[in-house]
Amino acid sequence: MAALAFSHEGDSSLSAPTHVRINDCNLHVATVNGSGSQTANATLLRAIFQMGVPVSGKNLFPSNIAGLPTWFTIRVNERGHLARTRTNDVLVAMNPETAADDIAAMGPGTVTVVNAGIPLPELPSDRTVHVVPCGKLVEPIVPDAKLRKLVVNMIYVGVVAHLLGIDAEEIDRALGSQLGRKQKALELNRAAVNAGLEYAREHLPPAPVRIERRSLTDGKILIEGNTAAALGALFGGVTFVSWYPITPSSSLAEALQGYLERYRRDPQTGEATYAILQAEDEIAAIGMVLGASWAGARAMTATSGPGFSLMTEFIGYAYYAEIPAVIWDIQRIGPSTGLPTRTSQGDLLSAAFSSHGDTKHVLLFPASVEDCYQYGMQAFDLAERLQTPVLVMSDLDLGMNVSMAEPFAYPEEPWDRGKVLTDEELDRVKTFERYRDVDGDGIPYRTIPGQRHPAAAYFTRGSGHDEQARYTESSETYARVMDRLARKHETARRLAPGPVIDRAPHAAVGLLSFGSTAWAMDEARERLREDGLETSHLLLRAYPFHPDVRAFLASCERVYVVEQNRDAQMAALLRMDMPDLAPRIRSVLHYDGLPIDARSIVERVLHGEREEVVAR
């Protein structure tokens, strides 16, 4: 790659780079939290999307309302590799506090746009740096100093559009769809974009990475996982939501509240076919869900780490008393408060065994925004069919960042509310025993409070109970009920979504991913293939594990379980479940709060394989 000279205000070399990469680059924008850079970044992202080129955006934000550093990364990749990558091609450095580090992290051949006034570090000559006087450019456009702060970021939108070759028209359209209703804001922002664009055209050479029109995003949508989950719940027929605010789950509840308000409240009467309550804490949130679900609502809550920990006692209750409940855990980095705005898959073990005593829970692992939508519905069906809590283990990366997807399909099936006996059915079946395993699958039948039938009523409790829901301290009965619950957990293996397997014909090595880890897998496998390592892949979608998971493990000599936590938590669950296959399980772990990238996977798998050779 050609070494480019430093360019300062007005003296950039305008010659085009000698080697140009098309539709494959990473743009990194460093700004100050609360400075209104979201609109700028979203405009760039959307414009690229509208050019038909696959794109993803990741927001790296602080646990702060305003003033601390924040970053936004846009990855463009026409082959659809949209996970995070560790290196950036273009940097926009708007934050004086982090600029030195941000710039220092840029490698050879990269381009940096830096706001004028930010001191520049000494740099090797193969990094291009463009100093752009953003403030000066925006001044004539926005006379009001306070407002100016919010518009100044649009300057770099124009600059980047020029550098990468993003269509000005698409920028304009993207801006329009975002600010459509605010005419004045739209005009100011437009003017600022143009000022940036013009400045760049005049002073700066295009970057060695460029974007060209394709038609790979036709008909597609851009959406965040939490919004998708909210949509799933909406179409899944949710009737009750209780929640307590906590990042990164709040946006799920808030999106859902918005949709419900709009689509499930009669505009004439004002009557709603749902209720959503902000509880006083997460103990109350899950308590309300259990009460509502017991009484027949489709009830859910969404939370994250600390809130999830607080739900522990009630989750154990729901397991034992067999009450359906849908709990979205949008995982963030723990332990404790941890890094509340960083992503993680660190809650697996505490979720799987949440609460004292012999409990094991059903977990789902959405790996895409489509999954969020689908599980938004299916989690209800599953919880009601199994009469147990279903924990949907999403994470910040999936929940709060936008992804591309095919538009979601309208559900063609009705809901499945599981084994509920109506009064008419009670008349037919004659005897009703709340906790009897009538069908041999461990799942009993239930009635709904308020049913008039004299046999319908039963007593729900977290203490020892027999098949007829009566209090008992009998050892045999206790053990019998626990055995049935274990049987029900076995049934869950087949009711929950099975894995998605891509087996390479002669591969000895398997990779196993789940949740947002999956995003980097295609890319990682491609690179491994380039390095001569064919791999099979299993995308895990639920715990307890489907029998196909076992078959996959059995068919590989080694399986690398890729996960975003320190303690190899998924590997632990697999080892527990399949001790005979435990020795073939390896781990690829990533736990710094940043989304995992393909290179990390490739490096660690190759390292593991080298060790394997040495060991043999």
Partner: protein
């Protein structure tokens, strides 16, 4: 309130207006200690429910953990029941009500369950004004775990094995009034004549109704030196008035001198008459109620009766804005928006003009 089924009253004298007998309101045999105050309350509940003619399937019994919280098993066996975890019944009640607003909720708790571990949920239940009759079977101790002090134990009261309580009690009635509760009463398990009409009135109220019932623990808190023993409570019980409950549409039968009674009309049209004992007491005056409670606390007496009522308090349902039909009963087509809604939303996400 449940609307009564219009059955012709049966010939048998023992049937109530919905055709059920007293036996229909009973439950399993109690496993509490013989003489426990809680059993007396159970009895009052059975009688009040029978006399009101409640339909068992329209009532749900909710409780936490404790001897008191076990009692839902001992009455109204034909009602659904949810015996939750310790101190968290209020959140269950909130969820149940939202799922099925036709259910009448009867929550049973203990002083430990409410004032110690449960004070947070109790507070927020009242704040939301969730329609539930919330009974505290208050004995000042944790019965089930063998007699430790709870947060309603009086300052200076003695435990069975020596220790003296050094902390001030939480007065759940005063707290409820301060928090804006629309129905607050205090009574004594040993005074069914007062307790029954209060229970009926509580059941007729539309929001949260709190009834704090002194209920001696004969095994762990019935000794000398205890301020929650039978003898002590009997001696220090200071009823504010004689309470009579009159269901809607029924005339007042007793004759009262003018000025001798106050009448309180409840949400569903039923009335409570309060026959004055010493002074006249106006249960509509919250501030006066607080003063009365504070004075009684200082004097070491228990004022019992209908302490405070505000039948006009806006109902919880208003805030939530739910449809009339129970949410739990809505069919799929009322809760799954039509295809065009999804298409509209997808289009917005395609074009970037996502609504919200």
């Amino acid at each position: 309130m449940s609307t009564p089924a219009n059955k012709t009253p049966s010939a048998a004298p023992a049937a109530n207006r919905v055709g059920l007998t007293l036996a229909d309101y009973k439950g399993a045999r109690s496993t509490l200690c013989p003489g426990c105050g809680h059993d007396a309350i159970t009895n009052s509940i059975i009688n009040a429910a029978f006399e009101l003619g409640l339909e068992p399937h329209r009532l749900a019994k909710l409780s936490g953990i404790g001897c008191s919280s076990k009692t839902p098993a001992y009455f109204m066996r034909r009602s659904f029941a949810f015996n939750a975890v310790h101190g968290r019944m209020p959140s269950i009640a909130t969820g149940v009500h939202i799922a099925n607003r036709d259910l009448q909720l009867l929550g049973i708790s203990g002083d430990g369950d409410t004032a110690s571990i449960g004070i947070g949920q109790f507070t927020h239940l009242i704040r939301r004004n969730v329609p539930v009759v919330y009974l505290i079977e208050n004995n000042g101790v944790y019965g089930l775990t063998k007699g430790q002090f709870s947060a309603t134990a009086d300052f200076g009261t003695k435990a069975k094995v020596g220790r003296t309580n050094e902390l001030m009690p939480i007065d759940l009635c005063a707290l409820a009034i301060e928090l804006g509760c629309g129905f607050v009463a205090r009574s004594f398990s040993g005074d069914p004549k007062q307790l029954r009409p209060l229970l009926k009135a509580a059941l007729a109220h539309r929001g949260t109704s709190v009834v704090d019932i002194l209920s001696p623990c004969v095994t762990f808190n019935n000794h000398e030196g205890s301020t929650k023993s039978y003898d002590h409570v009997k001696e220090h019980d200071a009823p504010l008035h004689d309470v009579t409950f009159i269901p809607p549409h029924e005339p007042i039968t007793a004759d009262y001198e003018p000025g001798e009674v106050r009448q309180v009309t409840l949400f569903d049209g039923s009335r409570v008459t309060l026959k004055k004992l010493e002074a006249d007491y106006d249960p509509h005056d919250g501030m006066a109620a607080m003063v009365t409670l504070r004075r009684a606390r200082e004097a070491g007496t228990f004022v019992t009766g209908l302490l405070y009522v505000n039948a006009q308090k806006p109902a919880f349902d208003r805030e939530v804005g739910m449809v009339e039909a129970p949410l739990a009963s809505l069919p799929l087509d009322r809760v799954r928006p039509p295809r065009r809604v999804l298409e509209e939303i997808m289009e917005a996400h395609r074009s970037g003009a996502a609504p919200r």
